[in-house]
C-alpha cells in the first residue's frame, strides 16, 4: 500500500512565482467583484465563495498543461482562470447573460469548453465528475494523447457513492487522473468530523491502491508542487493520484448563509493563514515582489475586471425563444464529432487489435474463453440449442392458433405462440413457439 506522501518543494522560476500570485489575486478580485454584483441584485442565483481557498484552485490547475483536461467544482473559479477562461465568462454566467458560455442556460461555474480549453462542466451532484474525468483519461490514452485529467471534490462530496465507483474505476484502469480533495472542513453546515471518522481523507487512497499526498492547501507553492508531482506521475502511467489539500471555507456555503455554526475561533485561526497574505510575505522575503510590483498587479487586474464587468453588465439577457432550443444535437451541422488520433488507427482494428481473449491468473494459468461455443445462458433465456429445436418443431408455424384455442376458451390464455406475421418486410420471418411464461419448461 502506498503511504501518503509529501511532495518536494521545488524552486520555481520567477515567472512561475509571479503567475501564481497573479492568478490568486485575480481569483479573489473576480469573486469580490461578484459579491458586489450580488449585493446589487445583478447575480441571478446563488454565489459561492472560495475565499481562503484560492491557493488550492490556482496551485493545482497551474500544474496542468494546455493539452490536459480539467473539470472544476463550484469553488474552483481560480482553476478556470488559470486554464484560460476570461473573467467575462464567469461574470456573464452568474448574471445569466446571453453572452455567457451557456447562453444563460446554466449559471455559476457550470460551463465547459471541449474544443479549446479542455474543460468539462460540473453538475451540482457531487462526485459525478470523478468517473467522467476517468473516462476522459481513458479515452486520452486510447487516442494516443499524453494527457492528464484533473477534478476537485470537497470533503462533503467525498462521501458520495460515485466517488468510490469513480476512484475504483480510475485505479483499476490506471487512468492518468488526479483528484484534488479540497478538505475545507465544512460541508455546508456539517463539520468534517461528523462526516468522516478519519483524520486524513487521503487515507482513502490506500483502499484504492493509489498514491496520495497531503498538502497545506493555503500554501500555493506546496499546492503546485504536489499537483505537479501528481500530474507527472499520472502522465508517466503510474495511475491516478489523490491529493488532500487541508484548507478552510471562510464564507458560508453560499451568500445566503452567514455560517454562524462555525466557531469564531476556528474562523480567526484560518483568517490568520490567508493564502494570499502568506504568499505575499514569502514573495517579499524572497525579493520577488515589492510595493511597486504589487501595485502593477493590482492595476492590471482592476483594468481587466472593469472591462470584463462592463461587458457582462451591458450584455443582453437570452431571448425567450431560445429556451426551447438545443436539447438535441442535430447532426454534423451542429457538432462534427472527430476524435483527435495521435496513434495509428490500424492498431485498433483487426488483425492488429486481435487478442487471445482469456484471463490468465497468476500462479494458476489460463482460463478458457467462455465466450466461445454454445455456452449455457443466463437464467430466463432459452439456450440456442433449445431455440433451434423449437424452431424446427414449430415449422410450419401454426396458421391461427389464437382463433382455434379462443373458440374453446375456458378462461385460460388462448394461443401459445407468437405467430409469423403477415406484415410487410421487415417483419419477423420465423418465430419460436412456446408461450411467455412457459419458456423454461
Amino acid at each position: 500500500m502506498p503511504a501518503t506522501e509529501t511532495a518536494t518543494k521545488r524552486k520555481l522560476s520567477r515567472q512561475q512565482y509571479l503567475d501564481l500570485y497573479y492568478y490568486m489575486r485575480l481569483n479573489r478580485e473576480v469573486e469580490d467583484t461578484m459579491t458586489k454584483l450580488f449585493r446589487q441584485n445583478k447575480i441571478v442565483g446563488g454565489l459561492y465563495a472560495s475565499l481562503g481557498q484560492e491557493a488550492v484552485s490556482v496551485g493545482s490547475a497551474y500544474a496542468l498543461e494546455k493539452r490536459d483536461w480539467m473539470a472544476p467544482m463550484i469553488r474552483n473559479i481560480g482553476a478556470l482562470l488559470v486554464k484560460g477562461v476570461p473573467p467575462r465568462d464567469i461574470f456573464t454566467q452568474h448574471m445569466a447573460k446571453f453572452t455567457s458560455p451557456t447562453k444563460g442556460k446554466d449559471g455559476t461555474s457550470h460551463f465547459g469548453d471541449l474544443e479549446n480549453l479542455h474543460i468539462v462542466s460540473p453538475i451540482s451532484m457531487l462526485g459525478d465528475l470523478i468517473p467522467v474525468m476517468t473516462g476522459v483519461a481513458m479515452a486520452g490514452r486510447y487516442l494516443g494523447q499524453k494527457i492528464v485529467s484533473m477534478t476537485w471534490i470537497g470533503d462533503g462530496g467525498s462521501s458520495t457513492g460515485v466517488f468510490h465507483e469513480g476512484m475504483n474505476l480510475a485505479a483499476s484502469q490506471k487512468a492518468a487522473f488526479v483528484l484534488v480533495l479540497e478538505n475545507n472542513q465544512w460541508a455546508y453546515s456539517t463539520p468534517v468530523r461528523r462526516q468522516v471518522p478519519i483524520e486524513n481523507l487521503a487515507d482513502r487512497a490506500k483502499a484504492y491502491g493509489i498514491a496520495s499526498y497531503i498538502v497545506d492547501g493555503n500554501d500555493v507553492v506546496a499546492m503546485y508542487c504536489s499537483a505537479k508531482e501528481a500530474v507527472d506521475r499520472a502522465r508517466a502511467g503510474e495511475g491516478p493520484v489523490l491529493i488532500e489539500a487541508k484548507t478552510f471555507r471562510r464564507r458560508g456555503h453560499a451568500q445566503h448563509d452567514p455560517a454562524e455554526y462555525v466557531p469564531k475561533e476556528q474562523l480567526e485561526h484560518w483568517e490568520k493563514r490567508d493564502p494570499i497574505a502568506l504568499y505575499e510575505a514569502f514573495l517579499t522575503k524572497e525579493k520577488l515582489l515589492d510595493a511597486k510590483g504589487k501595485k502593477a498587479v493590482e492595476d492590471k487586474i482592476a483594468t481587466l475586471l472593469e472591462k470584463e464587468r462592463e461587458f457582462a453588465e451591458n450584455s443582453p439577457t437570452p431571448p425567450a425563444e431560445t429556451a426551447a432550443t438545443g436539447v438535441y444535437c442535430t447532426g454534423d451541422d451542429c457538432h462534427k464529432i472527430t476524435p483527435k488520433w495521435e496513434r495509428p488507427i490500424n492498431e485498433l482494428l483487426p488483425p492488429k487489435s486481435s487478442v487471445d481473449p482469456v484471463w490468465i491468473v497468476e500462479g494458476f494459468g489460463r482460463g478458457h474463453n467462455a465466450a466461445r461455443g454454445d455456452a449455457p445462458i443466463h437464467f430466463g433465456d432459452v439456450t440456442p440449442a433449445a431455440a433451434a429445436e423449437k424452431q424446427a418443431a414449430a415449422a410450419p408455424p401454426p396458421k391461427a392458433p389464437l382463433a382455434k384455442s379462443h373458440a374453446q376458451s375456458n378462461g385460460k390464455p388462448p394461443g401459445n405462440s407468437f405467430t409469423t406475421s403477415a406484415g410487410k418486410k421487415p417483419a419477423p420471418a420465423a418465430v419460436k413457439s412456446g408461450s411467455r411464461g412457459k419458456a423454461r419448461k
Binding site: S172, I337, L349, P350, F418, G423, P426
Partner: protein
C-alpha cells in the same frame, strides 16, 4: 439471406460498427472475456482487443460516467447494462449529466446505453424491467425499443452513429425466439420512425418490442374470427415518438388501442392518449384503450407473471370491445 436471431443481429451491429469506426468502444460488466451475460458481445474482445472491449468493476455510475467522458473526447462508447434493471443505479449520471449536457453547455454525448430488458422469462422483479418511462420524461435522450432482428441491427447502428445519448432496450424474450432474414452488410433503420406491420381499417393497435408480436397474434385472430381488421403499428422509437404515423392511422381507423408491457400508470399509452386528445379529438369514435401490465413490480412465479403481463387473449378481448364500441 441467412436467418438470424435478434441476439445475433445485435452482435452483428456491434461488430460492424466497431470494424468500421475505431472510435466505437464497448464498456460494461463481463462484456469481454465472457462475451456478455447473454453473449451479445461474444467474439468482440478477440477481434478488437482489450482497449476497445472494456470489462469494468460492478459500478454502473462509473460505467456511464466513463462513457460520458470518453464521448467528450470524440469516442462513441456503447455502455452495456448487464440487465437493464441496473440502469437505476446510474440514474443520476444519465439524467443529470449525460442528458442535459447539450442543452446546457453545448456538449454532445454520443453514447449508446443498451441492455436486456423486459419480462416473460421469469427473471423476477429485478431482472424484468421495462425502464423506458423513467427516461422518457428526461429531455435529451432518444429511446429505441426494437421488436425484430432487422430493426435491432439497423436501429443499433443508427444509435451508435447518432450524436445524442440513445437508450437502446433489447427485449430479452426476443433474443433467441425471433429469427428473420436480414441483410448481411451495412444498413440502418432511422430513429424516430414507426412502421405499419399490418394494415387494417377498424382500429389502430400501437405497440413495440415483445408486445408487437402479441399484438400481431391478436390481430390475426381478430381478422379470422371476428372479421375485425386491426392496423398494427410498431413504434420502434419511443423518443422521439412518430406522431405522424400514429395520427395518420388513427385518422383512418378512428379507434386506438395501445399495448405495452410496461406498467399502466405513467406508461406511454397515457402520453399517446394525450397526443390523440390534442390532435385527433374529432377523429376518435371510441375511447383510447390500454392493454398493459399490472401496476405492480414484476412478480416471479410463472402464474403471477402470466397474470401480470398482457397476452394475445387480453389484447383480443380489448380490441373486440373497442371495435364494437
Amino acid at each position: 439471406m441467412p436467418l438470424v436471431t435478434f441476439l445475433e443481429a445485435i452482435k452483428q451491429a456491434l461488430f460492424e460498427e466497431m470494424a468500421a469506426d475505431p472510435s466505437v468502444v464497448l464498456i460494461g460488466e463481463d462484456v469481454g472475456v465472457y462475451g456478455g451475460a447473454f453473449k451479445t458481445s461474444e467474439g468482440l474482445l478477440e477481434k478488437f482487443g482489450w482497449e476497445r472491449v472494456i470489462d469494468t468493476p460492478i459500478s454502473e455510475s462509473a460505467i456511464i460516467g466513463a462513457a460520458c467522458g470518453m464521448s467528450y473526447m470524440g469516442l462513441r462508447p456503447v455502455a452495456e447494462m448487464q440487465f437493464i434493471d441496473f440502469i437505476a443505479c446510474c440514474f443520476n449520471q444519465l439524467t443529470n449529466f449525460v442528458a442535459k449536457g447539450h442543452y446546457l453547455w453545448n456538449a454532445p454525448a454520443p453514447i449508446v446505453v443498451r441492455g436486456p430488458s423486459g419480462g416473460g422469462v421469469h427473471g423476477g422483479p429485478f431482472h424484468s424491467l421495462n425502464p423506458e418511462m423513467y427516461f422518457l420524461h428526461t429531455p435529451g435522450f432518444k429511446i429505441v425499443y426494437p421488436s425484430t432482428p432487422y430493426d435491432a441491427k439497423g436501429l443499433l447502428k443508427a444509435s451508435i452513429r447518432d450524436n445524442n445519448p440513445v437508450l437502446f432496450f433489447e427485449h430479452k424474450f426476443l433474443y433467441r425466439r425471433i429469427k428473420e432474414e436480414i441483410p448481411a452488410g451495412d444498413y440502418t433503420v432511422p430513429i424516430g420512425k414507426a412502421i405499419v406491420r399490418r394494415e387494417g381499417k377498424h382500429l389502430t393497435m400501437l405497440s413495440y418490442a415483445a408486445m408487437m408480436h402479441t399484438s400481431l397474434e391478436a390481430a390475426d385472430a381478430l381478422a379470422k374470427q371476428e372479421g375485425i381488421e386491426a392496423e398494427v403499428i410498431d413504434l420502434r422509437t419511443l423518443l422521439p415518438l412518430d406522431e405522424e404515423t400514429i395520427l395518420q392511422s388513427v385518422k383512418k381507423t378512428n379507434k386506438c388501442l395501445v399495448v405495452h408491457e410496461d406498467t399502466k400508470t405513467g406508461g406511454i399509452a397515457g402520453e399517446i392518449a394525450a397526443i390523440l386528445a390534442e390532435k385527433a379529438f374529432h377523429d376518435l369514435d371510441g375511447p383510447l384503450v390500454r392493454v398493459t401490465s399490472l401496476d405492480t413490480p414484476v412478480p416471479y412465479a410463472p402464474t403471477l407473471e402470466e397474470a401480470f403481463l398482457p397476452n394475445a387473449q387480453k389484447v383480443f378481448a380489448a380490441a373486440k370491445e373497442l371495435a364494437n364500441f
